[in-house]
């Protein structure tokens, strides 16, 4: 029988479709939580309204803008690599990574403040505040916590890509990895775009 050599198989479109499909799973994951939020908000409108006032709108807004900027720089890194500008690509990626860290630091302080006031899942203080508050803060910690976890994952992914760009593994004619990493980052931004108003703004 004829020798059959496996030809190296590169299909950028397949990679991209795969990444989008993965993004769909994340959308559905958070959709489940948004469903829970909607139901409990519907059933506890006053309590949710009042509980939301506990959250610091200023930090929330700052964090939102931070994430939006980081989304822009992630998108810009693709333009840079398409133009073959390795240094600019790295700068944009670096800014994205930096902003992600700032977001997490803000989150850390936000949560810390809540914990020090006795507001955390399962706390007695929370239980005493009533059902609406328990549900609001349960959802708040769970959803922003899960989101923060995704930020950490995104950080790792983009950091890996950063080094691949530096090693020129990812370059002007082979950058689907960067595109996919950026897509993931935009997803993280998208989730926050909805989290922000639902927890901070509907007071």
């Amino acid at each position: 029988m004829a020798q059959h050599i496996a030809h190296p198989h590169r299909d950028d479109l397949a990679s991209k479709i795969g990444m989008w499909l993965f993004i769909f799973t994340e959308m559905l994951l958070f959709a489940g939580l948004f469903l829970v939020y909607s139901v409990y908000r519907y059933r506890n409108p006053q309590a949710f309204h009042l509980a939301a006032e506990e959250l610091d709108t200023f930090i929330g807004t700052v964090n939102t803008i931070i994430l939006l900027i980081s989304s822009m720089t992630a998108a810009m890194s693709i333009t840079a690599i398409q133009r073959g500008h390795k240094k600019q690509t790295l700068i944009f990626l670096g800014i994205t990574l930096f902003l992600a860290c700032v977001f997490l630091v803000n989150k850390y302080f936000e949560w810390g403040a809540k914990f020090s006031h006795g507001l955390y899942p399962g706390s007695e203080y929370l239980a005493e505040l009533g059902h609406g508050d328990v549900l609001f803060f349960g959802l708040y910690f769970f959803m922003t916590g899960l989101h923060a976890l995704h930020i950490v994952v995104g950080l790792v992914i983009l950091a890996v890509i950063f080094f691949r760009v530096r090693n020129e593994n990812v370059h002007q004619t082979n950058y689907v990895l960067l595109e996919n990493g950026a897509l993931y980052w935009h997803l993280v931004d998208l989730i926050w775009i909805f989290l922000f108003p639902l927890f901070y703004l509907v007071t």
Partner: protein, 535 residues
């Protein structure tokens, strides 16, 4: 298409790669080996699940405490359900036959992401072991039922976390398999194979892939919330903290209903492959079957509430779900009609895969029709949580998916192992299994209507007769299983060598040697017609 059969070739078994022995298998990215890895692991876990089921039937052979009491029985039906559903039927056909056959049927070398494919299997094994471990550790095996209903699932002192996290892990395996298959089908069909020239089994893998992708995350997040309840006392589904247990049910069934279509669609796909081959006639209504597949996948997302008719939902929800449930039955019925029409005036080759396909139609119809009884609000109230439900879902899941699985293994066995099994033992096994199956589950419809509840280790004296019959049926079924599996396992190593196309099949997998070489096709196939073309 001329079969390329020349014994002077290297089958994928003989291919020497980087690794040796066991590692050549568990580190292989070859879709054929991964499919077999799934087959072997699923068979092992299936045997555990069968043993648990058998232990249940032994308890139910007489009223009162027969072998053990309520707690043990509750754990038995819980772990039996978790294993059968999450470890066996959901991965079932896609992970085994999907992996082995999909690239072959579309003329490709492998799937789109072979390394992710291997990762899927590793995740599967890890998740399965977590579930098995829950049987033995901590506060005792889970006793909530496979449905993990709140609030009991976070109040029970039994070992819920391994079971819940095991199911969560298995979800990832399912998602990645679905993702892989969707991309494979979009991007790797051979030249000339347009969407409407693709065989029906890949079509069902496509529909199934979307359900795996989109529905599984919902149960994933739900299980995480249950874990958060247990660990953090977070309050999502705890009425004492303001949560709504019915919301848990909504979230759970938003996945678990589409999950049954993950189970049955590939099964239907396998039947759509077998019948044309054994009727030597092209499938009746190819497009209708394609559309039905997509319709089932789509409408199947919107009927989950029929598992919750007695839970306390609003009237509006009740009749909306009931109507949608009746609607989703229609495409399934269309498929049955088309299969039977394919057989009509065909030239039937009555070999064992055909026996399984024909008996599939019989048991699936019983399961499907009894589903209508359950989908109808008034009758549902009467039979909900009785053995009627148990009978219904075993007829569709074990009857439907199980029979299709056995049909598929007997159909594709020569291709996968390069050997043929003994036909006489296969027929005997089939007959005994068929008799055992109906004896086991048939009486459950009767006692269910008469009021015997499910998930109880005891029952009223008057139900004894049918329960004895049912439990004897279980033993007959297991005997049939042993014969079938014994025949297949023996023949995989010692059966006579099989040719490339022993059944006269018309799809691409039959054009390569049995078993196939590593990269499947010598030359990329050029497809000029649709499938199921016979002279």
């Amino acid at each position: 298409m001329v079969a390329m059969h020349d014994r002077e070739y290297t089958s994928f078994y003989e291919e020497k790669g980087r690794f040796k022995g066991l590692f050549a298998w568990i580190f292989s990215t070859d879709h054929k080996r991964i499919g077999l890895l799934y087959l072997y692991s699923i068979m092992v876990f299936f045997i555990i699940g069968v043993i648990l089921g058998l232990l249940m039937k032994l308890e139910l052979i007489a009223p009162g405490r027969t072998l053990y009491g309520a707690q043990a029985y509750n754990s038995l039906f819980t772990v039996h359900g978790v294993i059968m559903i999450f470890l066996i039927i959901i991965p079932g056909l896609p992970a085994t036959f999907g992996n082995f056959l999909l690239p072959l049927q579309i003329g490709a070398e492998d799937v789109a992401f072979p390394r992710i494919n291997l990762l899927s299997w590793w995740i599967y094994v890890f998740g399965a072991l977590l579930v098995i471990i829950s049987l033995f550790t901590g506060g005792g095996a889970p006793d909530t039922g496979w449905t993990f209903y709140a609030p009991y699932s976070f109040k029970t002192s039994t070992n819920m976390l391994p079971a819940v996290l095991g199911a969560f892990t298995l979800g990832f395996s399912s998602i990645l398999t679905g993702l892989n298959f969707i991309v494979t089908i979009h991007r790797m069909r051979a030249p000339g194979m347009s969407w409407l020239r693709m065989p029906l089994f890949p079509w069902t893998l496509y529909g199934t892939g979307w359900i795996q992708l989109l529905a599984t995350p919902v149960v994933g997040i739900t299980l995480l919330m249950v874990a958060a309840e247990r660990v953090l006392n977070i309050g999502f589904f705890d009425p004492a903290l303001g949560g709504d247990p019915i919301l848990y049910q909504h979230l759970f069934w938003i996945y678990s209903h589409p999950a049954v279509y993950i189970m049955i669609l590939p099964a239907m796909g396998a039947i759509s492959e077998i019948i044309p081959t054994f009727a030597k006639k092209t499938i009746f209504g190819y497009r209708a079957i394609v559309l039905s597949t997509l319709a089932i996948a789509f409408v199947g997302y919107f009927v989950w509430g029929h598992h919750m008719f007695t839970s306390g939902m609003s009237g509006t929800a009740l009749y909306t779900f009931s109507i949608l449930t009746f609607l989703v039955a229609i495409p399934s019925a269309i498929k049955v009609f088309n299969w039977v029409s394919t057989m009509h005036q065909g030239s039937i080759n009555p070999e064992i895969p055909f026996y399984w396909a024909a008996s599939f139609i019989f048991v699936f119809m019983i399961g499907g029709l009894t589903g209508l009884v359950l989908g109808s609000l008034a009758t549902n109230v009467h039979v909900h949580d009785t053995h009627f439900v148990v009978a219904h879902f075993h007829y569709v899941m074990f009857g439907g998916v199980g029979f299709a699985f056995f049909g598929a293994i007997h159909y594709w066995f020569p291709k996968m192992f390069g050997r043929m099994y003994n036909f006489n033992w296969a027929r005997v096994g089939w007959l005994i299994f068929f008799i055992g199956f109906n004896t086991l589950y048939g009486p459950m419809f009767y006692v269910g209507i008469k009021g015997m509840p499910r998930r109880y280790y005891d029952y009223l004296e008057g139900f004894t007769g049918p329960n004895v019959i049912s439990s004897i049926g279980a033993m007959v079924l297991v005997l049939g299983l042993l014969i079938i599996l014994g025949n297949l396992i023996y023949s995989a190593r010692r059966g006579p060598e099989a040719e490339a196309n022993p059944w006269g099949g018309s799809t691409l997998e039959w054009t390569v040697p049995s078993p196939p070489p590593l990269l499947n096709f010598d030359k990329v196939p050029e497809v000029t017609t649709g499938p199921y073309v016979y002279k």
